[in-house]
């Protein structure tokens, strides 16, 4: 059974031009999805709607069969989904530990250690970490929340190939070992290849291609 579902979602920023023109898709737990498409086609918009940052003009977004508009968007953001951004989006006056602890009640250190941090690194100023390290903190923060859905917007966009591969591996583990549903917006074909399913957005419409 799918954990999240979108049905005929339309979205427009200006009320005239639809960025999304009736998109439908299903996302299952334990799987990693790649969303591909040219720049400006609406990938980030789709992810925002999945994450409850805004509501669609029409159509429904379901989490475990329930419309998130009914659950409440803030509640949906708090309890069901976790975001990972291209620009990491850590809070700069908090250490990695504190960033992870921001919204979680789980002890942050074991999660950071699982992602390869030493206890010293976990207490450093986040701005003094490398890009790959910062993105791992962001992933740790996503894992530490109870969220079953991890939404990542170009998480490897700012990273070199090797680091990117490492991050992709971690996200894949999140799906396969921790049983999360991971949705990744990406331009990288490498990443798309390692995903369980790839979806292509073009002109506001979604083409699902299971093949890699």
């Amino acid at each position: 059974m799918s954990i999240m579902e979108i049905e005929g979602v339309r979205y427009s920023y200006d009320g005239r031009r639809n960025v999304l023109k009736g998109v439908s898709a299903k996302f299952e737990a334990g799987k990693m999805y790649a969303v591909l498409g040219p720049s400006g086609c609406g990938k980030t918009t789709l992810l925002s709607l999945l994450g409850g940052l805004d509501s669609p003009a029409s159509g429904r977004i379901l989490y475990q069969g329930e419309d998130i508009a009914k659950t409440g968007l803030a509640e949906h953001r708090r309890s069901h989904v976790a975001f990972i951004f291209q620009s990491y989006n850590l809070i700069d006056y908090l250490t990695p530990m504190e960033n992870v602890a921001l919204t979680s009640k789980l002890p942050p250190l074991p999660i950071l250690e699982r992602l390869g941090f030493t206890p010293e690194e976990a207490k450093r100023n986040v701005l003094k970490l490398s890009g790959g390290q910062q993105q791992r903190v962001a992933i740790a923060r996503a894992l530490a929340s109870d969220a079953q859905v991890i939404l990542a917007d170009e998480p490897t966009g700012n990273l070199d190939e090797d680091t990117a591969a490492g991050i992709t591996g971690i996200l894949k583990e999140c799906a396969h070992k921790s049983g999360k549903c991971v949705v990744i917006v990406t331009h990288s074909n490498e990443l798309a290849k390692s995903a369980d399913a790839a979806m292509r957005l073009r002109k506001g419409e979604l083409q699902i291609s299971d093949g890699r």
Binding site: L53, A74, I91, Y93, T103
Partner: protein, 490 residues
Amino acid sequence: MSLFHRAFLYVTRKLTKTFLLLLILLVISTLALSGAAIKDATGTAALNVRQALGGIFTLQQNTSDPSKWVSTPVGNAGSQSYYGGEPLTVDLAERIMTGAAGISGYNATYTNYIVPLNADGRILELIDSEDNGTGLGSLMAGHGDFNSTVAAIAATNTAYDSYFAGGYIELTEGRHFTAGDKNPAIISAELAELNGLGVGSKITLRMSEYKAAMMGIDAGKTKVEVTVVGLFRSTAKSTTSLSNWSMDNSIFTTLEAVKTARPDMGDESFERIQFYVNDPGEMERIVRRVKSLPDLDPTDFIVTVDSSNVDAVMEPLTNMNRLISILILLVLAVGGAVLCLVLSVRVKERVHESGVQLALGISKKTIVAQYLAEVVIIAVLAFSLSAFASGFVAKTVGSQLLNDTISDRAQSPAGKTPGTSVDGETFLGSADFAPEFEGSSPLTKIEVEVKPATAAWMCGAGFLIICAAVMLAAAPVLRMKPREILSKMS
């Protein structure tokens, strides 16, 4: 992680920002608290002044009433008029004092002008001071020893003299005298120093030779020896129409001594009696009682209630109080605006952080509450520091302000007398030549301290302003959709 924990971490880690905000809050709160402390102090001072000065009412002869004048024919040439009402005497004052309860004391005064001589018979060196520009000085220059005359102020109790009681002058050495003293004198310390005199020194008073010749009197026979029992010092600047009649040249003595030196006075008595009332609130009742005393004719006298002594001090206090209230409001308004501006910049700088927090499911309310908590943490520190800082600022600024307010006004403690003839040459009362003082000394200092209640009040106002400023500054964030914030982020 609680919002308070996050607020604490932000405040302790973004030290430059914290310091800037601390400085702003410290300045605002110190100014406001100092103002409040000074305002408090002026209120307390006003109360003290009223209690310390009490009230004064003055008794004068009703010389302006023509029916009180008695005419007797002189030879066949004409007639001579004299005032027929009861004279102002110590006996009258005593009768009033015992007749009306609530009077703490009185002083009867009469001023005339005499020439003071030292033990060697030489005229005392006088203190030169600026006259008030009436030109009387040059007019009198050709009048023999007239320019050596000084004011001899007859008093029955110098402690209750209006110059002393009003604080325009104060006793620096020796003691006050009463009507019971035999030929005492109180002179200014300056005059004493200039002439090598001190407490215990003898001075001789006599009529001006110029004046005596005019009246056909032998000036040598008007001599009276007085003993200096006290020295005074002026606490404020004063001016007179004649340099030699200035306060610092004046000699306090008894009516007997003045009468001996000025036989031309005849049987004239005191010009006025000032009664001191403990509680100004009782004034009306006491004055009514005095007027209804059985053994005096109320139409013989003019009774004036003189609140100038209290008013003189109350007026600058009231003005200052009003000024400071306006200043406090101004500081709070400008402070609030500056705070709001600084916080707006701060919120804008943190749009990114707010977006992240929103994406993590932290509500807008919580985010704004964190901003508020941060400012409150800094404010608590700033307010505590300002409690100390304002103690110092308030003292300095308070006395400065008071000086400025007081120096704006001048006043004379002796009321003007309506048309009495003092020395045959002028139809003005001696009070018209009395020194005019700038300001009044009882209030050249005020006790300024920051009271806990005031501090609490200002804290409350401060926190309200902070709340308003944070809400205003955070309004753009509160209005924005999470999606908009996130798109602004990248």
